[in-house]
């Protein structure tokens, strides 16, 4: 009964969503107050209905209802309870249900936290969200219904893919989807503004906290996915330039550009058209990401068995969304005035360069990701684009971006004095050059890449300190200023992590018999053998490895090789000793002979945790920026933002 209830709630949600997408929009055009007023309750009702539906599916999982074919395919009665819950989004149908739940959730959040906005604007924003919702709910209902029954019911479920039986995977998809789907809010604000023809500072101000909120989730989601790949896949890498990773990274890059361009639109009224385009692009890339992941058109380490027919549906949705929003843009954009003028050296120019570089970076990632698809579609053969391509194009774009990051916040709006900025940056410059020479030498070897990265990281961090000191002289800065500083500092931390891991990690694949010792990165690893240990739904070969440094025993590490009862698939669980300045990492390969010899992989990863630490700082910076008081002030309908307000 519960699955039917869930299905029914989903159908009702579809009906409500259709009303939400059409009526307020028409009402706003024709000035019908009653239809405009429908937007908020519709958005909230739709969210409640989808939440009920989602709860029903979760209940089917928790109760081991194997008559539901989605449950039978992704769960098992021996699966621990918390994974039975996370298995709800462990497959295609459930993850799409999560998608629409998130979409409705963002809609409900907008309906609740938009008291200070004009009713007509809210109606249009919620209607656009409703229109997007119609497409996705139709997708779930017509191609990917998670409540489909299976007769006769299965006696036992096929189990959740063992790779997904991990705490990281409980949080990674929801966070990432929150970010992906959150871009729909920025998109809806942009489309609503286009429809109303009022692209102004007020629109940018309303849009900013929502865009930043989605960006925070996207940042954390990507970071968590990277961390999961690092410890769960047993390969010790943190980023593979895999198509599915790229699919989440491209919206992030565009969203980062959007955050910066929104700042210009809010403060100076410039870049309006550009900002709208970025908002459309960010959401389109989120949809593209969903398409790439869910259609199975890509060869990727993330590629799970998928159904290509579903891809056609998302592709159609993608074409409709991009096509109609660009049409609307082409129709409306010429009427938008260009906004404030600015000098060649000014904060506007700096932020423009930030945008150009981020968009170029996105373009290069997009090209590398789609190129194999394009060539294949043209019948010119199959090929793959490897990480060297991405490193070769991405790094040269990032270097000027990071260099400018220290300069931009020092430049005044409208017109800045390059000499004055240079004077204020002298100390940072000296410090960063020293760091570029000294840090790599301290780590043991000087390479151009680690030198460049150390220089950039210290350049950003040092100039950040000077910016804070300068700003404090003129009173207490607003939260958005602190947010920016924290996020930029996060980038510096991230850069150090990437550079140190890239330049100084050590890796060894070795054959080890019990009693053997291997040296990596100044640590010695003594292999004591492997024991068989039972787990809740698997049996593990558990290794004992003694980690020591300079003859002093630090700890015993336990890498595992698990065999799950319900599938033949073995799973590698790496043992990681994490630290502030380094991780050491041991994982088991396979048993090589009867005497207990195993192939063992050992890593030394300096500063690797700084990569994710930097991401957390970026997200924290975003959070601080959202808390800025001015986003909660009621904006009068015709309020003019005074010119020349500093950030």
């Amino acid at each position: 009964m519960t699955p039917e209830l869930g299905h029914f709630a989903l159908i009702l949600a579809f009906v409500v969503c259709t009303a939400q997408g059409v009526l307020p929009l028409v009402g706003a055009q024709q000035g019908r107050q009653k239809w405009i007023a429908l937007a908020r309750p519709a958005a909230q009702t739709q969210f409640l209905l989808i939440a009920v539906s989602f709860a029903c599916l979760a209940q089917a999982f928790l109760a081991n209802d194997f008559s539901v074919s989605y449950v039978a395919n992704h769960s098992n009665s021996q699966l621990p309870t918390m994974y039975r819950f996370s298995a709800v989004w462990g497959g295609h149908e459930g993850s799409l249900l999560l998608w629409v739940l998130m979409l409705a959730g963002w809609g409900a959040a907008v309906s609740l936290a938009s008291r200070q906005l004009p009713e007509v604007m809210v109606a249009r924003v919620l209607a656009v969200l409703g229109l997007v919702g119609i497409g996705l709910l139709a997708f779930v209902l017509f191609t990917s219904n998670p409540f489909e029954r299976m007769l006769p019911a299965a006696a036992e479920g096929r189990d959740l893919n063992p790779l997904l039986q991990d705490p990281g995977l409980i949080y990674h998809p929801p966070l990432l989807y929150m970010g992906y789907v959150g871009m729909s809010v920025a998109f809806s604000f942009a489309i609503a503004a286009l429809i109303s023809g009022r692209l102004d500072a007020a629109w940018a101000r309303w849009s900013r906290p929502w865009t930043t909120a989605a960006w925070i989730f996207l940042t954390l989601g990507i970071a968590l996915g990277s961390w999961w790949a690092y410890y769960e896949l047993g390969w010790g890498g943190w980023w593979f330039w895999d198509p599915v990773e790229n699919a989440s990274f491209m919206p992030w890059l565009v969203a980062t550009a959007l955050i910066h361009s929104l700042a210009v639109t809010e403060k100076r009224g410039a870049f309006k058209n550009w900002t709208v385009l970025l908002a459309i692009a960010a959401f389109s890339l989120s949809l593209l990401g969903t398409f790439l992941v869910r259609s199975g058109v890509l060869t990727s380490v993330h590629a799970f068995a998928t159904d290509p027919r579903r891809g056609v549906f998302i592709l159609a949705l993608l074409v409709i969304v991009i096509g109609s929003s660009l049409l609307l843009f082409a129709w409306r954009a010429p009427k938008v005035n260009a906004g404030g003028n600015f000098g060649l050296v000014s904060r506007e120019t700096m932020l423009l360069m930030n945008n150009v570089l981020l968009v170029v970076a996105t373009g290069s990632v997009l090209l590398g990701t789609l190129y194999p698809l394009l060539i294949d579609a043209l019948g010119m053969g199959k090929l793959s684009v490897g990480p060297p391509y991405f490193n070769a194009v991405f790094v040269p774009v990032m270097v000027p971006l990071l260099l400018l990051m220290a300069v931009g916040p020092m430049a005044h709006w409208k017109h800045a004095d390059l000499k004055a900025i240079a004077r204020r940056l002298r100390v940072s410059m000296a410090l960063s050059v020293i760091a570029g020479i000294a840090l790599p030498l301290l780590m043991g070897a000087w390479t151009p890449l680690t030198a460049m990265s150390s220089l950039l990281a210290v350049w950003i961090a040092a100039s950040g300190v000077f910016q804070v000191m300068d700003r404090l002289k003129s009173g207490n800065p607003p939260a958005s200023f602190w947010g920016m500083q924290v996020a930029h500092f996060g980038i510096a931390v991230f850069v150090i992590g990437v550079a140190m891991v890239g330049g100084y990690q050590e890796e060894k694949d070795v054959r080890m018999e019990p009693g053997d010792t291997v040296q990596v990165g100044g640590y010695s690893f003594r292999f004591l053998g492997v024991k068989s240990v039972p787990g809740p739904n698997y049996r593990a070969a558990r290794g004992n490895v003694e980690l020591s440094k300079d003859g002093r025993l630090l700890k015993t590490m336990h890498p595992e090789k698990r065999k799950y009862f319900s599938s033949e698939m073995p799973m590698t669980e790496a043992a990681i000793d994490a630290g502030f300045t380094r991780d050491v990492y041991v994982s088991l390969g396979e048993q090589l002979d009867d005497k207990g010899a195993w192939s063992v992989r050992v890593y030394y990863k300096p500063f690797v945790d700084w990569i994710w630490g930097g991401c957390v700082l970026m997200a924290l910076g975003g959070l601080i920026a959202i808390l800025d008081r001015r986003y909660r002030l009621r904006v009068k309908a015709d309020a003019r933002i005074p010119a020349g307000v500093a950030a």
Binding site: N161, L163, L233, G234, W235, G296, T299, V301, H302, A303, F304, A305, N341, G343, L344, T349, L352, V356, L357, V360, G363, S364, L367, G368, Y371, G381, K382, L383, S384, V385, G386, P388, Y389, A392, V393, P396, V397, D509, V510, R511, S567, E568, M569, P570, M571, T572, G589, E590, L592, S599, R601
Partner: protein
């Protein structure tokens, strides 16, 4: 500077960086792509010379031979077999009779030296490139 000049300077700067980026990008793309080749194509000598490429196919039954970290196996599309050698730890889902994608270079002795064996996340998943190789071989047989 007049506003018009300013705009021209901005546009010129933008264009220059876009062109530079495009040149760098295409250059990088050209030197970093790996073609997928089927075992039959390799046997017919149609694989790229002196360049890394990828082979998709099935790991032939009872072809995996291990000697410590060195692994030899055969990858097949049902028509032709290619011997492969690899040193290191194989991914969890690498199995005889299952699909696999490998990257590396063809040696002068006709043995493919793999530098990378691609991992999959799902035991029921068949890499499209491996499927493609099997389909191609089947088509050739039917003729």
């Amino acid at each position: 500077m007049k506003p018009r000049h300013k705009r021209i300077a901005l546009i010129a700067g933008g264009l220059a960086s876009v062109v530079l980026a495009a040149v760098l990008t295409l250059n990088a793309l050209d030197s970093n792509i790996a073609l997928y080749v089927t075992p039959s194509e390799v046997a017919a000598g149609k694989s790229p010379q002196g360049k890394a490429f990828r082979i998709g196919g099935l790991v032939k039954e009872s072809s995996i031979k291990r000697q410590d970290l060195k692994v030899n196996f055969v990858i097949t599309d049902g028509a032709k077999d290619i011997s492969v050698t690899y040193t290191g730890i194989l991914p969890d889902l690498f199995k005889e009779g299952k699909g696999a994608v490998i990257q590396g270079r063809l040696g002068g002795d006709g043995i493919f030296a793999a530098t990378e064996v691609l991992a999959k996340h799902d035991e029921n998943y068949m890499p499209p490139e491996a499927q493609h190789a099997l389909d191609q071989a089947k088509k050739a047989n039917a003729k």
